[in-house]
């Protein structure tokens, strides 16, 4: 196993475990504000210190991880759920179906994703749900494209021809032969989109359009900490580190998985 894969796995795993543990236990209740204990530096009582409302930063980060991962996960799910069938359709039916889906993709691609995400949340109101939808929509063309590219190269192979001759329909071939063979591509792309989703969620929360208080989110923790950087640097450093570590971890994981799973790379070696 490559060291990148291991490091990535550990970093992403820490975020995942923190998020899962926060479902049953956090060191402090993040919805209770203890103003008297505000802006404390890290101590045995508060491992990562407290924020400007006296909330425990470690607990905030744990619940924030849940928000970030949940938003990114569902957004990737939307992208895969809609993008993969569209990509399969485009590859299976060259001609008008291919043209229609791919030009539709180009249309979405043509817009800067974060700006449109801001538009969506501005129109429908800021909330975690709308952030998921906004980020999810921009995952659709990514997955459609990856799926189509992978599927197109498979459609020319002999065993697919054999399946066609045997009388299998295009839809069945796509599901039974194409999809399993491009699954590794999708897993790699999914990991990368997942890390982008976390960044996008942090960005949206930073400008106040993501998860709304009292639900903690890494992006809003950073935004709140902005003016306090000089006063109490730890309130900005820890959420910043959490975002960096998780995104870096997922990217390393994605790269490592590609090296391990992508048949094209394996052949080249």
């Amino acid at each position: 196993m490559k060291p990148g894969l291991a490091i990535g796995g550990v970093l992403a795993g820490v975020a995942l475990i923190a998020a899962l543990v926060s479902l049953v236990w956090t060191p402090y209740d993040v919805t209770v504000l203890t103003i008297a204990e505000k802006l404390q530096t890290p101590s045995p009582a508060h491992w990562l210190g407290t924020d400007h409302f006296g909330r425990d930063i470690a607990a905030m980060l744990m619940v924030g991880a849940r928000t970030s991962l949940a938003v990114a996960l569902v957004a990737v799910g939307i992208g895969m759920g809609l993008g993969v069938p569209l990509g399969l359709l485009a590859a299976a039916r060259p001609g008008w179906a291919d043209e229609l889906t791919m030009r539709g993709n180009d249309l979405i691609f043509a817009f800067p994703s974060l700006v449109i995400a801001i538009l969506i949340t501005a129109v429908f109101g800021p909330s975690a749900i709308n952030a998921i939808i906004a980020i999810g929509i921009f995952n659709i063309p990514v997955f459609a494209r990856v799926t189509r590219g992978g599927a197109m190269s498979l459609w020319t192979l002999d065993y697919i021809r054999a399946a066609q001759v045997a009388g299998k329909g295009r839809a069945r071939i796509s599901a039974e032969h194409i999809l399993p063979n491009i699954a590794n591509l999708l897993i790699v792309q999914g990991t990368i989109q997942f890390s982008l989703g976390i960044l996008a969620e942090a960005g949206l929360s930073y400008v106040g359009l993501g998860a709304q208080p009292p639900l903690p989110s890494w992006g809003r923790m950073l935004a709140d900490a902005q003016t306090m950087v000089t006063l109490a640097p730890h309130v900005a450093i820890f959420p910043g580190l959490a975002i960096v570590a998780t995104v870096l971890g997922l990217n390393l994981l994605g790269d490592g998985l590609r090296d391990a799973l992508d048949p094209r790379l394996r052949r080249a070696r």
Binding site: L33, A36, F53, P126, G208, Q212, Q226, T227, L231
Partner: protein
């Protein structure tokens, strides 16, 4: 050697010379940009913060301590019945466009402000005027329909400044007044520049040029202050950085009082907030000190009613709505309300956004859930203030002596209890100081006992300025940045 010495010496002289001559321009930071520059038609505080006492003047004006001082009127007389006010105007006053100021301008301005189609944001100030007459160019006689002891005070507001008929229509973009500074340019989204008025009746101001820069982001405001891009920030938006700025010898921090009663406004016509028990429950759920410490980093004075604590007529009623979550829960039970969920609309200022999160947590502790919506000012004015579509909101009422807003039936929190309206009418007709004081105390008590709103704290004026600047106002008796007396010292 000699060749080299000469330019070096010249440079030394030059730099020394620059150090001796105090600068004659100032850059003042403001959080909000004014939507226009006409104080007689716009409601925004930012308009007055640029033009009041700088570009425009009224018959009277507010001093730094809130006292009513002579403005364009040198002196005034009141008839014994309190209904006829005679203003004696200054002579030799000209507008920035060179035209002369006279009594007909006063007549025009007051009639324009009180006209049926007037766009003035404070029409109640002029509601008592029955007739404005000019007998000679320097004397204006205002007849009121009822005695009003506070008429000179009303004429000191930014909404009551005197303008010329020729320029009145275009004041929004080209303000022409009689003040010590002349409007020079407005780059939208960035700054407004004023230059000294050479022909000012009160003598030329010390500053030759003043620039108001608009910086809404607290972090950017702090950075601009540290970098010296801004010389003074009279209402600094990041209270948490004040200790750091105070410790820096380049700056001084000026903490004063404002007229800003910061309240948790409740929609008194909206169920279940139309029930006084529910409003009382909300009031008792609030821990004021936590809000002042958590949102304002300790800057602010707790209030128990809609009145400024530095006013001599203030009555401390904070005990009526003391922090008592148990009492709060009992009141909710008594009102028969369970599973209460309220909307909380928050405009952009720090006191609202941070205070809102704290209040939401405090309300949650007594079993009231809130749904927070962060709003920009335009949306807040549209939906909450004009549309009255809200449950709770946090806002600071920065107008001086504005307890009479509780008598307006269409005002956004919709109180206007008939007994209160009666009190305000009585107050209008009373000029005796002790009697006024008593009426004001009754008014404060009535709104506090009806728990019309949650009374949080009096906004502090947290200003930062270059240590070498003198003459800035310490307090904010009105929304203004009067630069007349501002100057640099060594």
């Amino acid at each position: 050697m000699k060749k080299l010495f000469k330019p070096a010496f010249a440079a030394l002289l030059l730099s020394a010379g620059m150090a001796w001559a105090a600068p004659d321009s100032i850059t003042v930071g403001m959080v909000l940009e004014p939507p226009n520059l006409d104080p007689t038609s716009g409601a925004a505080a930012a308009i007055d913060e640029v033009v009041y006492a700088n570009v425009f003047e009224g018959l009277t004006r507010f001093g730094p301590d809130g006292a009513v001082l002579p403005g364009l009127a040198e002196a005034w007389e009141v008839s014994p019945d309190g209904k006829i006010w005679t203003f004696f105007l200054r002579s030799g006053v000209t507008y920035h466009d060179g035209s002369a100021f006279d009594a007909y301008d006063v007549e025009f301005s007051l009639n324009r402000a009180r006209a049926a189609d007037s766009a003035n944001a404070q029409k109640p100030l002029f509601a008592g005027i029955e007739l404005v007459e000019v007998f000679e160019p320097g004397v204006v006689v205002v007849s009121l329909n009822a005695p009003d002891g506070a008429f000179a005070w009303k004429m000191a507001w930014g909404d009551a400044v005197i303008v010329a008929p020729e320029t009145a229509a275009s004041l929004a973009t080209n303000p022409v007044g009689t003040g010590p500074f002349v409007f020079s340019e407005w780059v939208q989204g960035d700054h407004v520049t004023l230059t000294a008025n050479e022909n000012y009746w009160g003598g030329k101001p010390a500053l030759a040029k003043a620039t108001f820069r608009f910086i809404s982001d607290p972090t950017a405001a702090f950075a601009a202050m540290m970098a010296g891009d801004v010389d003074a920030f009279p209402n600094f938006p990041a209270p948490e950085t004040l200790p750091q700025l105070a410790a820096d010898p380049r700056f001084k921090v000026i903490i004063g009082s404002t007229e800003g009663e910061t309240i948790l406004a409740m929609n008194n016509k909206q169920s279940p907030l139309d029930n006084v028990l529910v409003r009382e429950a909300v009031a008792h759920a609030i821990n004021r000190q936590d809000i002042i410490d958590g949102a304002m980093f300790g800057y602010g004075t707790p209030i128990g009613t809609h009145f400024a604590p530095h006013n001599p007529d203030y009555v401390d009623l904070t005990a009526l709505s003391a922090y008592d979550p148990e009492r709060s829960k009992a009141l909710l039970t008594e009102a028969g309300v369970t599973g209460l969920k309220l909307r909380l609309a928050l405009p952009p200022p720090t006191y609202a956004r941070r205070g809102g999160e704290i209040i939401a947590a405090q309300l949650r502790a007594v079993g009231i859930e809130t749904e927070i919506t962060n709003m920009e000012w335009a949306q807040w004015l549209e939906q909450v203030f004009r549309g009255r579509d809200f449950d709770l909101t946090i806002v600071s009422h920065t107008e001086p002596m504005d307890v009479d807003i509780y008598a307006r039936p269409d005002y956004y929190f919709q109180y206007a209890r008939p007994e209160f309206v009666e009190l305000m009418d009585q107050l209008k007709g009373t000029s005796d100081v002790a009697a006024r004081s008593d009426l004001l105390a009754q008014a404060q008590e009535m709104i506090a006992k009806d728990y019309v709103n949650g009374y949080l704290f009096q906004l502090a004026k947290t200003g930062v300025a270059n240590a070498k600047i003198e003459g800035l106002w310490e307090n904010s008796p009105t929304q203004a940045n009067d630069l007349t007396a501002v100057h640099w010292v060594d």
